[in-house]
Amino acid sequence: MLELLVRNPNFLSYRSCSNWSVDTTPWKTLFPTAQYNATTMCNTSFPYMESIQDIEAFVYDQAADVYRLVTVNNIAYFPGWEFWSYIISPETGEIVSSDRLPGAALATFLTDQAFNGGLGKIWAGHTGFLPFPAVYGITEVLLPNMYATSDMLANPILTNTQIPILAGTNFGFALAPEAKLITVLTLMGGPRISVWDYSTSGAWPSSTPATEVYYHPAPESFAWGTGYEDEQRMWALFANTISGQTADRQSILKYNYASNRIELLTEMQNIGGNDRMARICFDTRRKKLAAVRIKADATNGAAQNALEIYAPRPAMTMVTVPVAITRLSNETEVHFISNLLGTKGEAGGLKKVSISCSPDAGLVSKPSQLSEVNGRVEIVLKPTVAAAVETLTVSYDETKVTS
């Protein structure tokens, strides 16, 4: 389980019907004859004028050092939806400001979602459905207004040709300096991560990505979001948990697209459950992972959405019983091994652990030491003068996990 640092429940409140008239001004200008009836759309039992329908972007704006969340909101007046931009503090998870996105940005977000890429840039993918669902190209999104550039990247693969993605949920992930596009797909047989190298694919699209890794074995799970970490690593969040586990968790993995390896497979706790969708992005300055969770509205329509900030490492929940790896002897050192682990057996590397022995505390060679990268703690007991019965205890101080 990832280590949760900050959770801000209800960070995003819906506007109530009492202020709806203010927001309709631009539409009244465009459509002066449109009729609005606050009484039928807003009433005391359902006092909110909006509800998030979809997340179009959740990115870390490196230059401004803020998270930017762009949503499509259902609203209680014509034309029934709006794009809204929220600026969120990466320190507190609080919304700093919010505003309706101008219409020029809409064309971008009608196509597909926006993602962080290399060099602090943000990209939006363009998808279509004929002859089959495919990513047509990638357009850079300009900050701070989240405008999409008018031209797609000047590359054969990104100008009106298709990446043949056949089905499932897909997420474009653009990395301009490395000329790579990474897609996270959920197809039959489970999610897969494909890396398409458009710097070398003159005849794009070939149907074969440069590298591909299958999330294995696959949970029946949709990819929900990606987060760019650096020029080697990215994160991918899936809607469901690792199969066989409780439903209040979602699986998340860290993928090294340089070496084509999944470096970490762990979970996010889905506090309160009831997620409609979630997205992640990576704060490249603080090295933190942020998640926005859109949950089902309360029965009166109130928002229940949460913003969470995680350390990009699993929380430790278990210390295994120390077991000898050499025969017990009073003439020689005896080596024991214990493992510091997370809920999925993730290794707790380079953590401080304490070791004690009773009644002869002096037998422990190193009462305090760091766990190895794989979570292993090797304990060396000194030889005893005579046969003895000792109790060995290993504990991880931060969470008081003891075994």
Binding site: G189, G190, T211, E212, V213, Y214, Y215, H216, P217, A218, P219, E220, I242, S243, G244, Q245, L253, N260, R261, I262, E263, L265, M318, T320, V321, V323, A324, I325, T326, R327, L328, S329, N330, E331, I337, N339, L341, T343, K344, G345, A347, E372, N374, G375, R376, A387, S403
Partner: protein, 320 residues
Amino acid sequence: MLIKIYEAANPTTLPASGTLDLSLESFGFYLKRYDCVLYTQEFGNIYKIFRDGSAVRCCGGGGVNTQFWGYDLDLDRVFTMENGSGLGNVHQNTVGLKYDPSDHSRVTHTGILFPDGVIAPVVWGNSYYHGYLSHGYNKYDNATGTLQASVNTTGILTYLSDRIMITPDGWFVGIDADNGTTGVVRFLNLYTGATYESYIEKSKCFFIDPFNKNIWSFRASDSRMQIYTFDVAPSSVSSITMGSNRKRYREDDLSVTLLGDRNEPVPNWPVHWELTTAEGHLKETVTLTDYSGVATNTYCGPGRADFVGGSQTITVSTGY
């Protein structure tokens, strides 16, 4: 019997699968990178089993048959095998490395071509070893597939489920988990040719940790995790044999044999020698047994001019 250094208090249970059950197809290997066993019991479900018997399911779902795994000792990687007929069909002529579940992913490797009938191969250096339908283990060149040598497993590895592992210092370890009432373990040093064998309790499932030289076994009767070292537990010590010199300044060879509880030799065990009621000298105070379980020492008679031999008492002890 090999020395059992740990036995879990409770049966090992797999999340959402109940108690470990070898009636289901299962495979696994110890991985240094996680310091645990990566284990699968059903198609696609992978568990991490740790040294104390605790288990977590780290991946789940369908899609890949992970029954037929191999292990790359140098890279500390598990791979699965497939051929043109699909994963797991090992009765073909071209079975290659394909998937790597050891980091929860599948990646395509350049295939090593295994011969027909390969089971649980171990890749080590430029060679790989694997079980064969003829119930032996063979060593192959992993680039060409050429047979380089055969490892004699007569009488030990008799069934396809028998498993081998190689330690980084060259011990070839083979286990027959169900050899009547026990499991038999055979050790062969690939450098020196030294061999010894012993046994463990009848096992339903076991793994060899080549780096720490441990055997992880799940006892057949109750699925409890047991850890064995490669050391044979001494059960009996023979009388000391001695030459007949026992004269002034003359040396006599001493030897003693350590046996396990099935009269198997106990190798590499320290034997303490003590001259309790005798004159003269012992060359060593502690010596190690060889692979026949024999420890040797030398007795030298005293320099006293009127020494004429007679009764001498020498004590040996094994100690722990």
